[in-house]
């Protein structure tokens, strides 16, 4: 296990440098004149230009600039947005909102997918099962750009059940509808995996033993079978965090939630290069860590899995 962790960490370091390098190169390579971009329309004097060049190491080579960026990233200095705010401060404001949104979405998705997944596995081939297969297929195919605006229109504006947009402090009530939208992306795969895994486990010997001992059907299904069926589902929830974060960009944009995705979308539209790179880098690091955690969790949950 220890050797596996070390090897995975080394792999992660490689991926980290590769990924940040790609992002950095794409944003900053052959940028025309970053100083003029910073100054906007105002004319800029020679001495200002010189000072800025030195401050941002613009006279040094591309790899040196990448080195400064990595150094800042690792010491917690994410640089300054073109608006003059520290990117680190903006993240402190934005992350809790997105984290809350993602957490609510994960809980909603887990509750729905496990309940419906187990139910359709028990009644396999029944009406509910066939219906849920169709519904999950539709959910799998619906892009978030379709779900988010339509849900906002139907449940937020037309029916008025939920607030259609969030305010600065983003309360639980305001985050509920966007969280349901986000949950829609991950509910379908989670439900299908729950269903398959419960169907497999229902045939297992230990289920027959438990029934033979005279345990009630409810106890066999919700305690014995479910515990063994949840392993793939839990890891899937971890993997889905990646798609949740991507979905958050669109969802926060639609519902006006001041989280990471909202800031990122705005940074893209205002061509705020440093801000984009800062947020994307953090997302990439988070994504890598989640993947590692999921792999380790998998081994911890299922004693049969051994990494060398």
């Amino acid at each position: 296990m220890f050797r596996y962790i070390v090897r995975r960490l080394l792999q992660m370091v490689l991926t980290f440098f590769g990924a940040t390098f790609l992002v950095y190169a794409l944003i900053f390579a052959n940028q025309n004149d970053p100083i003029q971009a910073l100054a906007g329309e105002r004319p800029i004097t020679e001495s200002q230009r010189l000072a800025l060049t030195q401050r941002y190491h613009l006279d040094e080579g591309f790899f040196m600039q990448y080195w400064y960026y990595i150094k800042g990233l690792l010491t917690g200095d994410f640089g300054t947005s073109l608006t003059g705010r520290k990117i680190g401060d903006m993240m402190v404001d934005a992350w809790p909102v997105t984290a809350r949104l993602a957490l609510i979405a994960i809980v909603i998705a887990a509750v729905f997918s496990v309940t419906f997944g187990v139910y359709s596995a028990i009644r396999r081939g029944g009406l509910f099962d066939n219906l849920s297969l169709v519904v999950t297929l539709v959910l799998l195919a619906m892009p978030i750009v379709v779900i988010a605006p339509l849900f906002q229109l139907i449940f937020g504006i037309q029916l008025g059940w939920f607030p259609p947009t969030a305010t600065r402090d983003a309360t639980f009530w305001q985050l509920l509808l966007p969280a349901i939208v986000l949950a829609c992306i991950v509910i379908a795969p989670e439900m299908r995996v729950t269903r398959t895994s419960v169907v497999e486990n229902l045939r297992a010997d230990y289920v027959r033993t438990a029934r033979a001992k005279g345990l009630t059907r409810m106890r066999v299904i919700w305690v014995h079978v479910l515990r063994n069926s949840l392993i793939p589902v839990i890891t899937l929830i971890g993997v889905d965090l990646g798609s949740l974060l991507a979905g958050a960009i669109v969802t926060e944009h639609v519902f006006n939630i001041p989280g990471v995705g909202f800031n990122l979308a705005r940074a893209i539209n205002t061509e705020d290069g440093p801000l984009v790179v800062g947020f994307v880098s953090i997302l990439v690091i988070l994504f890598l860590f989640i993947n590692l955690l999921v792999d380790l969790l998998y081994a911890a949950l299922d004693p049969r899995i051994r990494y060398e």
Partner: protein, 312 residues
């Protein structure tokens, strides 16, 4: 945004309940394709998908069959007028005919989807084949490279790359988006191709052909490729649907198609802003986009089930 990994991972283990019906006639041995076809013919979902896809294709190549209105002839005096006989879906903020715009938007969706899938298909095929056939350091380098690509969430990479490629403000962004999606979406396919090639390579008929003195090029083209490409092509059908959705997402965020180009993603973005006043300019492009993506994913889903002997 749907991600190819989750879609395949979610569905591969899920057995469809309505699989084989009736005894299969055993008159003569049938090929995998013939077998799959007889399986497909019975699936209702397959025919629904085929009809929808055909409808969308007709609409994208001959929009004049559906509407004679010019989608770019907008007049502010028509702003937010509701549906009527001349404009079935009403008018949007700019006073454009929503029906005409939706119908004409199909072309860009299909165009970007097909060409980006082609680009991704070719890259994935070459990388997957090379990785699986040569193994060794080629495989190690390519697999690490794919790991790095997958380390960046798809949408983030798409935003950054599309922005970089479409720096020319005069372009409509079609080329940039197509290239972006093509360059980013080949990874899952390459992995599938790699494992298919590895398992095909170890088959006895390949060993026999090699012993008979077949050149590597003949081995690859005549023996390994035909036996490993089925699942790859099915995957590309799914990818087509996903890439259409990705194009709309990028356009929605303002880094996809732009300027004069008509895109369902842009229409949804504009419609969202004014949904309070008039919901139809938002609802119709959303429905068309949803149905289009659904049709391609249903098609890929059905074909994959038919081609996978293990599910039967």
């Amino acid at each position: 945004m749907s991600d190819l990994n989750t879609v395949t991972a979610a569905e591969a283990p899920g057995g469809q309940p309505n699989v084989p019906h009736g005894p299969v006639k055993k008159d003569k041995p049938r090929s995998l394709a013939a077998d799959a076809w007889s399986e497909l013919r019975r699936r209702k979902i397959f025919w629904i998908a085929i009809v929808l896809v055909a409808f969308i294709l007709v609409m994208s190549f001959w929009p004049s069959l559906f509407t004679s209105a010019d989608p770019r002839a907008c007049s502010l005096s028509n702003q937010y007028k509701g549906p009527s006989g001349s404009a079935l879906f009403g008018y949007d903020f700019q006073g454009c005919d929503v029906y005409a715009k939706v119908v004409n938007g199909a072309f860009n969706s299909i165009r970007v989807g097909v060409f980006s899938t082609l680009v991704a298909g070719i890259i994935g095929l070459i990388f997957g084949m090379a990785s699986g056939y040569f193994g060794g350091w080629v495989d190690a380098v390519l697999s690490r490279f794919i790991d790095i690509m997958l380390g960046v969430p798809f949408l983030l990479a798409g935003i950054v790359l599309s922005r970089r490629l479409s720096s020319d403000p005069a372009s409509d962004g079609v080329f940039a988006v197509t290239l972006t999606l093509g360059l980013l979406s080949w990874t899952s396919g390459a992995r599938v191709m790699r494992s298919a090639v590895i398992s095909a390579k170890q088959q006895d008929y390949v060993a026999a052909a090699r012993m008979l003195g077949a050149k590597p090029s003949r081995l690859i083209l005549q023996h390994i490729l035909p036996n490993s490409i089925a699942s790859y092509i099915v995957l590309l059908t799914l990818l087509l649907g996903i890439n259409i959705a990705s194009e709309a997402t990028l356009s929605f965020l303002g880094v996809g198609l732009k300027g004069d180009a008509i895109s369902w993603g842009i229409m949804i973005a504009e419609g969202t802003q004014f949904a309070r006043t008039q919901p139809w300019p938002l609802v119709w492009p959303a429905i068309f986009l949803g149905v289009t993506v659904l049709a391609f994913i249903m098609l890929g889903d059905a074909v994959r089930d038919a081609f996978d002997p293990k599910l039967r």
